[in-house]
C-alpha cells in the first residue's frame, strides 16, 4: 500500500530539482513504486489535475479564507496578529500553514503524523468536497492535519486547491513521466490523454495493459482546441488562413447519433439539461454519429443576439417554457471532429470543413461562414463586417492545421475589438521622476473581492495605469490622494481605497503570478469617477467573466 508521504516526498524532490528531464525522472521513479491501479490513477491525478480530475468537474470548494481561519484555530493563533504577516512574508498560504504546524508548539502538540495511505487521503478529499458549510469542512481539515507532517500538510493543501502544485512540473510533464514508466512513445500517450481527458486514467490503462482502449468514445467529450490572441503571434503567410466570424456565444461540443444527442461545455461538463430545445431540434434531424465543435447563440428573427441574452439561459438547469420561447438558441457549427466511425482530428482543417459542409447541407445545420484571406489588410474589412453582424470579432484558422486539443498555438488566432472598461479603485500611487517628478503619476488599480470567498482582503490589484488623464485631473488626483496616504515604500505610497477610476484596456490576460490571476493590457484612465461610491467598483468575478467571454 502506498503512502501519502511517499507522494509528498516525490513532489518535494521534484520541486527541489532543476530541469524537466531530471524532474521527470523523479516522477517516473516514484510512479514505478506503485503497483495498484487505483493508487496510480489517484496519485497521477493529484500531480496533474489536483484532488479530482478536471474531467470529473468536481472540486473540494473550500476557500482560502476558510482554510486560513481553520489553521488559525487549529494553531491557536490570531489571524491578524500572526497569520497575515507570516503569509505576507512567504507569499503562500500553504507554505505558511505547513511551517507554523512544524514550528509552533501548538502545531506540534496537536498533531500525531501517522503516515496516511493514498486511499485515506483521497477519502479526506471526498469528505471535504461533500461537506456542507464551513464548520463541517473545517472539521475534516483538522482531521487531516492531525494525522500529517508539516510537509504533508503543505502539499495536501495544494492538491486540494486544484491549482498548481508550484513544483515546476505541469500535467504535460506528468504524462511524459508516465510514458517513461511504461516505455510508451510520449506522443502516443499524449493523444490518449487528450482523448480520455485524464492523465490519471491513462496511467491506469497503461498499468492494466489496456491503453488500446484509450480510444475516442462518442458521448465522452474531447478537450477543446483554443485560440491565441492575434497580437501574441507573428503571422508570416496570411493566405494560409481562412476567416470566420467570432460569435459572442457559448462554446459547445455536440455529440450526436440518431435520437441520442448530448452537449458539452468548454470545461467538458454536460450542458444538455440547460438546452432541451436544442437537443430536441437535433434529435429530430436523425444525425449520423458525429462530434461537432461550435457555438450556442440566442437567435431570434434570424439575428444573433448579444451574449447577455444567452446568459439568461446558461444559468437555468431546467429552463421554463417561457424562457425557452423568449430566448431560443441555435448551434452554429464550425468544426467536425468525428463522423461516421471516423475520428477526423488528425486531418487538415480544409478536409474537415468539406465533411462539415456536406453534413450541414444534408441536415440543415447552421454553419459559420468561412472566407479566404489574402493579406493582413483583409482583416480590417472582415472585422468590420463581423461587428456589423453583431459578432465579437474574427477567428483566423490555418487551413492545414489539425485539431490540437488545448493548444494555444498559431493554428487558431482570435481578433477582437479592444477590451473594455472597468471601474477600479486606487490602492497605490508612485511618484514619477523627470518631468512629473514628485507628482503621483503611476497608479495601481484594484478590483473588489470583499465578497469573494477566495480572498481575505477587500481589494486585489488588477493593473497599473500611467496615462490617459489630463494635467488638471492629475493635479486634482494628487490633492485628493495626499490625505489618504497610509504607508510609504520609497517613491510609492499606499492609500486608503477611496477614489474610483474608470479604466480602459486592450485585453484581459491570465497571469498566474498576480494575486488576481489576471492582468490588463495597456490599462489607461478613461475617467475619474468622483460621483461613484467605491462599493460599486467592478469585482474580480466581473473580470473573470469578461475574460471567459472574451
Amino acid at each position: 500500500m502506498s503512502t501519502f508521504l511517499a507522494f509528498v516526498e516525490a513532489v518535494h524532490a521534484i520541486a527541489h530539482t532543476r530541469g524537466s528531464k531530471a524532474k521527470t525522472q523523479i516522477a517516473a521513479d516514484y510512479f514505478r513504486t506503485i503497483v495498484d491501479a487505483d493508487e496510480l490513477e489517484t496519485v497521477v491525478t493529484w500531480m496533474s489535475d489536483g484532488a479530482f480530475s478536471q474531467l470529473s468537474g468536481r472540486s473540494a470548494t473550500v476557500g482560502a479564507a476558510t482554510i486560513a481561519q481553520a489553521a488559525c484555530r487549529f494553531l491557536d493563533i490570531d489571524y491578524e496578529a500572526v497569520f497575515r504577516p507570516s503569509k505576507t512574508a512567504t507569499g503562500s498560504s500553504s507554505e505558511t500553514i505547513s511551517r507554523l504546524m512544524e514550528y509552533l508548539p501548538s502545531g506540534c502538540s496537536s498533531r500525531q503524523p501517522r503516515n496516511l495511505s493514498v486511499h485515506e487521503v483521497m477519502s479526506l478529499f471526498e469528505d471535504i468536497a461533500s461537506a456542507r458549510g464551513r464548520a463541517e469542512k473545517e472539521a475534516y481539515l483538522w482531521a487531516a492535519w492531525k494525522a500529517m507532517t508539516g510537509l504533508e500538510i503543505r502539499y495536501f493543501l495544494r492538491v486540494l486547491a486544484q491549482g498548481s502544485l508550484r513544483i515546476g512540473f505541469d500535467a504535460k510533464n506528468v504524462v511524459s513521466a508516465v510514458a517513461e514508466v511504461f516505455a510508451i512513445e510520449p506522443d502516443t500517450l499524449r493523444s490518449a490523454w487528450m482523448l480520455t481527458g485524464s492523465a490519471g486514467h491513462v496511467a491506469r490503462l497503461c498499468l492494466e495493459g489496456q491503453l488500446d482502449t484509450a480510444q475516442f468514445e462518442l458521448f465522452r467529450p474531447l478537450a477543446f482546441m483554443l485560440a491565441s490572441p492575434i497580437e501574441q503571434k507573428k503571422v508570416d503567410d496570411w493566405s494560409a488562413y481562412v476567416v470566420e466570424d467570432k460569435y459572442d456565444g457559448m462554446r459547445c461540443q455536440l455529440h450526436g447519433s440518431g435520437a441520442e444527442v448530448r452537449l458539452f461545455s468548454r470545461d467538458l461538463n454536460s450542458i444538455s439539461e440547460s438546452f432541451p430545445d436544442l437537443i430536441a431540434d437535433m434529435q429530430g434531424r436523425d444525425l449520423p454519429s458525429v462530434v461537432l465543435d461550435g457555438e450556442i447563440c440566442v437567435v431570434t428573427e434570424g439575428i444573433i443576439r448579444p451574449f447577455q441574452w444567452l446568459q439568461k439561459r446558461m444559468g437555468a438547469k431546467k429552463p421554463a417554457k417561457k424562457l425557452l420561447e423568449e430566448y431560443p438558441v441555435q448551434f452554429i457549427a464550425y468544426d467536425i471532429l468525428y463522423h461516421q466511425e471516423e475520428l477526423l482530428i488528425d486531418q487538415a482543417l480544409h478536409k474537415r470543413r468539406a465533411v462539415l459542409e456536406a453534413l450541414s447541407q444534408s441536415f440543415t445545420i447552421p454553419l459559420a461562414e468561412q472566407y479566404p484571406l489574402s493579406g493582413e489588410a483583409d482583416i480590417d474589412r472582415y472585422f468590420d463586417l463581423a461587428i456589423g453582424r453583431g459578432n465579437e470579432g474574427l477567428m483566423l484558422k490555418r487551413l492545414d492545421s489539425v485539431y490540437e486539443f488545448g493548444q494555444r498555438r498559431r493554428s487558431w488566432l482570435k481578433v477582437k475589438r479592444p477590451g473594455g472598461s472597468l471601474d477600479t479603485v486606487i490602492l497605490y500611487a508612485t511618484a514619477g521622476s523627470g518631468r512629473r517628478g514628485g507628482t503621483l503619476s503611476d497608479f495601481t488599480l484594484a478590483v473588489r473581492v470583499a465578497d469573494d470567498d477566495r480572498f481575505e482582503q477587500e481589494w486585489v490589484p488588477i493593473g497599473k495605469a500611467y496615462g490617459g488623464y489630463t494635467n488638471d485631473e492629475l493635479r486634482q488626483l494628487n490633492d485628493a490622494l495626499r490625505p489618504l496616504i497610509v504607508e510609504r515604500f520609497g517613491p510609492t505610497v499606499a492609500v486608503q481605497p477611496k477614489i474610483m477610476v474608470e479604466i480602459e484596456f486592450d485585453a484581459i490576460q491570465e497571469n498566474k503570478r498576480t494575486k488576481a490571476g489576471y492582468t490588463l493590457r495597456f490599462p489607461r484612465f478613461k475617467a475619474i469617477r468622483w460621483d461613484k461610491p467605491i462599493t460599486e467598483a467592478n469585482t474580480l468575478k466581473d473580470v473573470e467573466k469578461m475574460h471567459s467571454e472574451g
Binding site: 496578529a81 504577516p85 507570516s86 512574508a89 503562500s92 507554505e95 505558511t96
Partner: protein
C-alpha cells in the same frame, strides 16, 4: 541608536554623541563618516580597517568595562559574525542591552553568544521576527553545504555559494574546511579571512578568486555577482543561496538557484522569544524587523512589556 541622556550612541552614521559604539563590521552598522572616533571589539576594529574605515577606533575587548562620565559600558559576544558585540550599559537609570545583530546559538565562526543575567531595558533586533522562521542546527546546515559542494564537484560542476562577503562567506569556508575542498572567495571577502584565521578559526583551503584556477574548486560570492562574468562565465555551475531568507520557497523562483540553504547569522523567532522570556527585561524594544508587532504580540502573551522601537526613544 542614540541615548542623549547618557551621551552615547550605537551604530550611528555620524558623531552624534561623545561616545559611539560599533557593534560589528557590516556596512549598515559602520559609520558612513569614516573618520570619526568609535569603540569596537578588536576583531571588529580589524575588519573595519580592512574595509576602509580610517577613523580612531578605541578597541574595547569583550567584558572589559569602560567607565564613562554617565555610564559604564561593556561588550558582550553577540554570536552574529566575528567580533560582533552587544552593548551593555549600566547607569543611574538602570541597565540596558543593545543587541546590534545577534545569533543564538552563536555562529561557530564568532566568539559565541553571551547574555548578561539581567537587564532592565532590552533593545533587540528581530530581523526574522515571525514564527515561520526556525533554523535547523549548524551541523545540519553545514552538512547541506558540504553535500551541495561535493555533489557538484563529483558531477564536474562548480558549486557557487551566494553569500555576504563578511560573516556568511567565512562560515561557509569553515563548513567546507573538514572536507578539504578548495574554495575561492570573491575579492571583497578575501582580505577579511585573515582576521578569522588570526582569531584561530579554521577556514580550510581558501584562496582569492582566480578564473584560471577555479575549476575543481567551490566559489563563494555575494549575490550581486550573479550577473557578473565571475559567475556567468563558469562553464558548468550549480548555485546555492545561503541566507536566512532562503527559508522562503519564493526565493527559488526569484533567484533561479539550485539550492536554498537557510543558514542565517540572525537569531530566529523561537530563540528570540525564549531568550527574552528568560531574561525578563522590564521593557523590550523591537528593532530591525519588518514586523515588530508580531514579536511584541508573543512577548505580551508571555506577560512582558514590549514595543516596536520608535523614533522618539531615548
Amino acid at each position: 541608536m542614540h541615548l542623549p541622556a547618557l551621551d552615547i550612541a550605537f551604530d550611528v552614521n555620524a558623531a552624534v554623541a561623545s561616545h559611539c559604539f560599533v557593534t560589528h563590521a557590516h556596512a549598515d552598522h559602520v559609520p558612513r563618516d569614516r573618520r570619526m572616533k568609535v569603540y569596537a571589539t578588536p576583531n571588529t576594529a580589524a575588519l573595519m580597517r580592512i574595509r576602509g574605515f580610517v577613523g580612531d577606533i578605541q578597541e574595547l575587548p569583550f567584558f572589559e568595562v569602560l567607565e564613562l562620565p554617565n555610564a559604564r559600558v561593556s561588550f558582550y559576544p553577540a554570536g552574529h559574525i566575528l567580533g560582533s558585540a552587544m552593548v551593555y550599559v549600566e547607569s543611574d537609570e538602570g541597565t540596558l542591552l543593545y543587541t546590534g545583530d545577534c545569533r543564538r546559538p552563536a555562529a561557530p565562526t564568532s566568539e559565541g553568544f553571551v547574555s548578561p543575567d539581567k537587564v532592565d531595558v532590552l533593545i533587540t533586533e528581530a530581523t526574522f521576527g515571525l514564527p515561520i522562521y526556525r533554523w535547523a542546527s549548524h551541523e545540519e546546515l553545514f552538512d547541506q553545504i558540504r553535500r551541495f559542494a561535493m555533489d557538484a564537484l563529483n558531477a564536474k560542476e562548480t558549486p557557487v555559494f551566494y553569500a555576504y562577503n563578511l560573516g556568511k562567506a567565512q562560515e561557509i569556508l569553515h563548513a567546507l574546511a573538514p572536507t578539504g575542498i578548495r574554495a575561492q572567495i570573491h575579492g571583497g571577502g578575501y582580505p577579511l579571512c585573515q582576521v578569522y584565521t588570526d582569531a584561530g578559526i579554521d577556514l580550510g583551503r581558501y584562496e582569492k578568486y582566480n578564473k584560471n584556477t577555479l575549476a575543481g574548486a567551490a566559489l563563494i560570492a555575494p549575490l550581486s555577482a550573479e550577473d557578473q562574468p565571475m559567475v556567468t562565465k563558469i562553464p558548468k555551475a550549480r548555485h546555492a543561496y545561503v541566507s536566512g531568507w532562503a527559508s522562503n520557497e519564493s526565493r527559488r523562483q526569484q533567484l533561479n538557484v539550485d539550492a536554498l540553504i537557510p543558514l542565517s547569522d540572525h537569531i530566529d523567532f523561537y530563540k528570540l522569544i525564549d531568550w527574552v522570556t528568560h531574561l525578563r527585561p522590564k521593557r523590550t524594544y523591537i528593532t530591525h524587523s519588518p514586523t515588530p508587532e508580531v514579536v511584541c504580540h508573543f512577548l505580551h502573551k508571555a506577560g512582558l512589556d514590549a514595543v516596536p522601537m520608535s523614533q522618539e526613544f531615548g
